[in-house]
């Protein structure tokens, strides 16, 4: 059974007096443990689709189901709870908190998800060990390389065991070799723990690790 589904999702934005359609009837489903690459040119609607699937934006029309729960676009106040329970994000710019160590970055995300105290600390250590950063727990982001920062971001996304992982251009700021290592690690961890992983990308290396590649153009998915 799919863990993430989009049914005929459309999204429009108002720009002044004009309404600009960004997504037009997009349908997509990801199974647990499936790795999907979402490709498309700039302005094709990739990030908007990622935002809707990640319960950051509500669709103008259509339906999104995350881990069996239908997202009610009329109740934006309920979206944070779905994000806490079911979704882990990895961003192009890492988006780590500069004042927190690697361990604290992961632990804080767990705190937000409701895991507190020693349980959060243990889970954060486990997640960082899984991305091979067990020896960098007390390092601040400024003391980590780009690849290490992205590993921390991956650990943060994995922590709390969300069934859906969404990554936005995770290798865009990394060199080819490090980017490849991160992708392989990310895929392996997602597969091992049966998480659905959707990666928005321009990077051809993603094709190599994806089970499926989906193209988006002008707000529509292409086969």
């Amino acid at each position: 059974m799919p863990v993430l589904q989009a049914h005929d999702v459309s999204k429009e934005f108002r720009e002044g007096r004009e309404t600009v359609p960004v997504l037009r009837g997009v349908s997509l489903a990801l199974e647990p443990g499936e790795v999907v690459a979402l490709e498309g040119p700039s302005g094709s609607g990739k990030t908007t689709l990622l935002s809707i699937l990640g319960c950051i934006l509500s669709p103008s029309a259509g339906r999104v189901v995350v881990d069996g729960e239908t997202v009610d676009g009329r109740r934006p106040d309920r979206l944070p709870a779905i994000r806490r329970r079911s979704i882990g994000f990895v961003f192009q710019q890492y988006n780590l908190f500069p004042a927190l160590t690697a361990l604290e970055n992961v632990e804080y995300a767990l705190n937000v998800k409701g895991v507190k105290g020693a349980a959060a600390r243990t889970e954060a250590e486990r997640a960082l060990a899984a991305v091979e950063l067990g020896d960098r727990l007390r390092f601040l982001p400024r003391d980590l390389s780009g690849g290490q920062k992205q590993r921390v971001a991956v650990a943060r996304a994995l922590a709390g065991k969300p069934p859906v992982l969404l990554a936005d251009e995770p290798t865009a700021n990394l060199d080819s070799q490090v980017g490849g290592q991160i992708l392989t690690l990310f895929r392996d961890l997602a597969k091992r723990e049966r998480r659905a992983l959707l990666i928005v990308t321009h990077d051809p290396k993603v094709r190599a690790i994806a089970d499926r590649v989906v193209q988006i153009r002008d707000g529509r998915l292409a086969a």
Binding site: E107, V112, K113
Partner: protein, 375 residues
């Protein structure tokens, strides 16, 4: 629990220092301004506070203890005959010209009483025996008079309204709101010094109640017998004397304005630095939202940062004000900071800092978490 608020705040130490400095400046300003104000007001009623009188009989509409008007001193007999009055004595308070050895003229406020010891004034005697005041043309002079009269010592003589008096004692802390030096002399001598205008007259009648007497009943009866005088309890009279200076001199308004400006500076500094910090951390707050945090989580972060700034600012500002006390004392200014004022300033500081954070609340409430996807 990871304390993102504190770590973010302390991560940029320079900004934190600026924020704390702003709060500390405001706190110190409020403490110093209000403390000096209370110190001045303390002088306005210091003799009332120390005189062990339960009731004060004054001439009608006397505005404060220093600006006394005279009435017949024989009225004291009517007061003494009231049931519930243990003792009543005349107190004559007069501004007297004092000729200095240099020829300069100064003024002193002379308190004239028959028996100072009975009424508990002066309360700090440095030298001399109060009982000797009845034995001749003698007086006690407060040490603070040296600022106006120059150095003096027991045994020196000064001319009070042209009469040569011997200083037989020194007191301490007997001050007036007007900074005019205080002296203490026998009642009859004070009447003589004050001149014809005060012949057979007094400015106050001090009343000590008998144990168990009903103050209101005694007061009503005195008022009935002396219909052209006013009768105040000690507390009322002290309050009236202080209020006069607050209301009639603009001192109160000046203090309120300075406190307001101090608070405004503090709020603006905190609001500005928190807002700038929020703008710089916008993407981080977006990330908090993206990983499932709500607006309430971010409000908590900002609120906690404002509270931390308030706590540090209060401590530093309080320490600054405390450190200024010796400097104030050196220029003969009292800085009075009662516990209630400290508590009020603390609560005010926290509330104002939280209020300053509201500007940032409005900004983060509108953060679009989708900004985390923007490069």
């Amino acid at each position: 629990m990871v304390d993102l608020a504190r770590k973010n705040l302390l991560h940029d130490k320079l900004r934190f220092l600026i924020t704390v400095s702003g709060v500390a400046f405001a706190v110190a300003l409020v403490f110093v301004q209000v403390g000096l104000f209370l110190g001045l007001l303390d002088n306005a009623s210091i003799t009332i506070d120390h005189l062990q009188a339960d009731l004060w009989v004054t001439s009608r509409n006397t505005p404060n203890v220093d600006f006394a008007h005279a009435f017949p001193d024989s009225l004291v007999e009517r007061v003494r005959s009231v049931d519930g009055v243990e003792r009543a004595d005349n107190l004559l308070l007069a501004f007297i010209n004092v000729t200095q050895p240099s020829g300069a003229e100064e003024t002193a406020i002379v308190y004239g009483l028959e028996d100072f010891r009975r009424w508990g004034v002066p309360w700090h005697v440095l030298e001399g025996n109060l009982d000797d005041l009845r034995r001749g043309d003698f007086l006690f002079l407060d040490a603070s008079a040296e600022r106006r009269f120059g150095p003096f010592k027991v045994g020196d003589h000064r001319e009070f309204n042209g009469q040569r008096l011997k200083i037989i004692g020194r007191t301490r802390d007997a001050l007036s709101f007007t900074t005019t030096p205080l002296a203490f002399a026998d009642f009859d001598l004070t009447q003589r010094l004050a001149g014809e205008r005060f012949r057979d007259r007094t400015t106050y009648i001090l009343v000590k109640l008998a144990p168990g007497a009903d103050p209101d009943a005694v007061r009503r009866e005195i008022q009935r017998r002396l219909p052209y005088n006013d009768v105040y309890t000690k507390t009322e009279w002290a309050e009236r004397s202080r209020t006069y200076w607050v209301a009639s001199t603009g001192l109160g308004m000046n203090m309120i304005l300075t406190v307001f400006l101090g608070c405004l500076v503090g709020v603006v500094v905190v609001a500005q630095t928190l807002y700038t910090s929020t703008m710089e951390h916008l993407k981080e707050f977006g990330t908090v939202k993206a990983i499932g945090g709500s607006n309430a989580d971010i409000y908590r972060i900002l609120g906690q940062q404002a509270t931390i700034a308030a706590l540090f600012g209060f401590v530093v500002g309080g320490a600054m004000a405390w450190a200024l006390r010796p400097a104030m004392a050196a220029i003969h200014l009292k800085l009075i900071v009662p516990g209630s004022l400290a508590a009020l300033v603390f609560v005010g500081t926290v509330l104002l800092c939280l209020g300053a954070a509201i500007v940032s609340f409005r900004k983060v409430a509108r953060i679009d978490p989708a900004l985390v996807f923007r490069t």
